[in-house]
Symmetry: C2
Subunit: 477 residues, 2 copies
């Protein structure tokens, strides 16, 4: 019933088509790397990011909004940071017909916009911790191939959180909290991930270390869908973020920051889709249930009337439901809503009306279920939960199949070439060996996995010393 052939074999074509067909984005905006969110896509975006917003609110993060424009003088204070971004920053040089005295950067991320203000906010230990976040547009002058939702010049939807703490321990604890938030977020979306500490040569510009979440796309590449950085005192020293401690002395704060972009939406679309189109988890589906009346001319049963009642009943139950009463053939409607990934379709024909029932069709499996009208709410809710579970389970099982353990470089290289996905290989943890592993396997080092440890007998495939961690390797987006 459910096919995933094109989804697997021509994934890039599938993805581009579905964004357009399902009314997610229009990819025809006349500037490379910029796209237009269409109404249905916006609803999906808002649902996904409200969830992320709520997870931040529940853990004591406060929403703020900082300016997009950062003066060059302020932007360039942290040396590593500017080195990391100088090739990617858009510069505003003119206001109206005048040349600006100081060039303004379009934020590629907001450390340099926020932290000078943090310096005004932090006086004593009582002002700490600071835990803020914003959901904003950020800009990167990408020279590589751009791709909607994935590699953008305007990232339209970037949730970035920034924190400041009195001690290094508290900053560490904050990194753990951020990991827990992101883990929960992706669990809810049914998007499976590996979590790894990025290698030193792939750490965020200005950070002490970086943690990243990666999922695997149907074409076997790793997609980074969240990063968490321990900034130590690097930015604090540059921007003078000091507090007076209980000891009466002044100390630099310890900081973290962490971000998730619209790639979260890309991942949700990618891991759950099939040849028929989107297949959205009920929690974030803009329409959870679509009702399609199936009238027969010869019978004068009140199909439309009952369909309207069913819609009202579902709405009253708090379900996002829609009655498709367009003058189209039911088959066309089925196809239309399948493309858009509506989790459950309810068909109501004359026989259903007579029997006091509806026919529900699951988007994920194609399975048909008859539901008695008197049990409508409870059973629809139950089926939606089953869909959620099934999507999560299906994605997990497919993800697990894409993770390949390897013990030596040759088999790692072959696996990566033949199977794609992520290679898990023991590593001593030394930078030179790590770089060699990446090079010899023709993959990119995602980093050391935080949820696994190698067997005590495992050896680094380069230096043969005892492996300290599991390295993860992949081709990446």
């Amino acid at each position: 019933m459910v096919k995933r052939e094109r989804w697997r074999q021509d994934f890039s074509g599938w993805f581009n088509d579905i964004l357009q067909d399902a009314d997610i984005m229009d990819t025809r905006y006349p500037v490379k790397g910029l796209y237009v969110w269409r109404p249905y896509g916006m609803k999906l975006r808002n649902l996904v990011f409200s969830r992320l917003r709520q997870l931040h609110e529940d853990t004591g993060h406060q929403e703020v909004l900082f300016p997009l424009l950062i003066p060059e003088t302020q932007f360039q204070k942290e040396a590593d940071h500017i080195r990391g971004f100088e090739g990617q920053v858009y510069w505003v040089t003119h206001g109206g017909l005048q040349k600006l005295e100081v060039r303004l950067a379009l934020r590629p991320t907001s450390e340099t916009s926020m932290y000078p203000m943090f310096a005004l906010w932090i006086r004593t230990h009582a002002d700490l911790p600071i835990k803020v976040y914003q959901i904003v547009n950020v800009f990167r002058y990408e020279t590589k191939m751009t791709k909607p939702l994935i590699r953008l010049r305007e990232v339209t939807t970037f949730k970035e959180a920034h924190t400041a703490h009195a001690t290094a321990e508290e900053a560490e604890a904050q990194v753990r909290e951020a990991i827990a938030i992101y883990r929960k977020f992706y669990q809810e979306l049914g998007v499976p991930c590996v979590i790894s500490k990025r290698p030193p040569w792939d750490t965020f510009a200005g950070a002490v270390y970086s943690i990243a979440f990666d999922t695997v796309t149907p074409d076997g590449k790793a997609l980074q869908i969240g990063t968490i950085h321990n900034l130590g005192q690097n930015f604090a020293r540059v921007y003078g973020l000091k507090y007076e401690g209980v000891d009466g002395k002044h100390h630099y704060v310890h900081q973290t920051c962490y971000g998730i972009s619209e790639r979260a939406i890309a991942a949700t679309i990618m891991v759950h889709g099939d040849d028929g189109g989107l297949c959205l988890p009920p929690d974030v589906a803009p329409i959870q249930v679509v009702i399609v009346p199936i009238p027969f001319k010869e019978k004068e049963t009140p199909v439309e009337k009952v369909a309207g009642e069913v819609r009202e009943e579902l709405r009253a139950a708090g379900l996002r439901s829609h009655l498709d009463d367009r003058d189209l053939r039911p088959g066309n409607k089925f196809y239309y809503w399948e493309r858009k990934g509506v989790p459950l379709r309810i068909e109501i024909g004359p026989k259903d009306v007579e029997k006091g029932q509806v026919t529900a069709v699951r988007r994920d499996t194609g399975e048909r279920v008859t539901i008695a009208r008197r049990n409508l709410k409870a059973q629809v809710e139950q089926v939606l939960r089953q869909i959620t579970d099934h999507l999560r389970q299906r994605a997990k099982s497919s993800f697990e199949k894409s993770i390949h353990p390897a013990a030596d470089l040759k088999s790692a290289r072959e696996l990566l070439k033949k199977e794609g996905g992520i290679i898990r290989i023991p590593w001593c943890g030394q930078e030179s060996c790590g770089k060699r592993i990446a090079e010899e396997t023709d993959g990119e080092m995602l980093g050391e996995e935080i949820d696994s440890t190698p067997q005590p007998s495992a050896r680094c495939p380069v230096c043969s010393q005892q492996a300290r961690v599991n390295a993860l390797l992949a081709k990446t987006y």
Copy 2:
């Protein structure tokens, strides 16, 4: 009890202080005209704009999101439009270390970003109407004095709606719908407005005519808080927005657009405030009820426990409530929450606990009301409704006093100088007379009021012909 002396006499100082004190914005960002939204301000912003969003959704507008960056070639197609904006547009000229081939404008408004895409979306009459909106940041290189929430270089929160229609009549009807939406929005916020058709010399760049909403600030100036434009076919011709009609022929569409910025929040703060600080309408107050326990050491009554129960009860009733259990003196807490404009304070002392009651204090009047615990929800809701009504009524009455009818130029000029506010004066409607009225009265012509008509006997103060409309004049922000 309630003082409005500083609010009236040093309004500018009052406004700047309260934004900082009440945690609305930090105005110390080191670029002119750019400000930082603080957490409490963000909550207010989100509540105000969700309401505006809902009003658009309820009337069939669909949310979209277009890129910030507009290529110069595309931006400059509509000649009037570019003339209107050329002095105000920020230009991106460099990406990383490279000079861009085509300069990119930061949108000052999105006609030129959206309409080339509309051209792809519109084929036949069945694709019409298009009614979309977005809530985005827009940029204006302001050379005048900037002011938080009022005159910004980054307008962080701009709701702009854009529509396309088959006929001129439908575009006219859309203008009326937009007026109705904005009227309702400001009625709910309790912000009184006059609505006028802007004079030809103050029409939006590229529009056929513009309608504007203005309120009056405590220092007697008019503040434009919403505009609605009938664009006719001006942009349609430039961007080729044609549809195939039922007649089989191709026609240009008719368009409208309308916007409201964070000035809506400025207006809400301004019209309702007093010397004590903000005074927020309950509908948009981030905290509607704050609970302050008043413990006495000598009595071991369970004041805190009861305060917690009251908080839970109010939360369960869907009210945004907060228990202030900080280790501060009650008086300090009162002051703190008054500054922030929380509509209702509930005090709970030992006597209240004994008597099974709470003491509620209204922010708007200072009035104290005793509420029995068993009636808590119903009575709190009732008091909040009374506060809403009172704020609306107080603002309306103060607004009406600031509108001064005048019959001749001299008295108009004197009234404007002495009283400020808005002068209503009959006008024949001719441009030359209108400009003369503005000049002679030393005011700005807001335009012809749409909700009033002059007496049949009224004459234009310049040409003495019969007055066709009432002109509105004011000093403006």
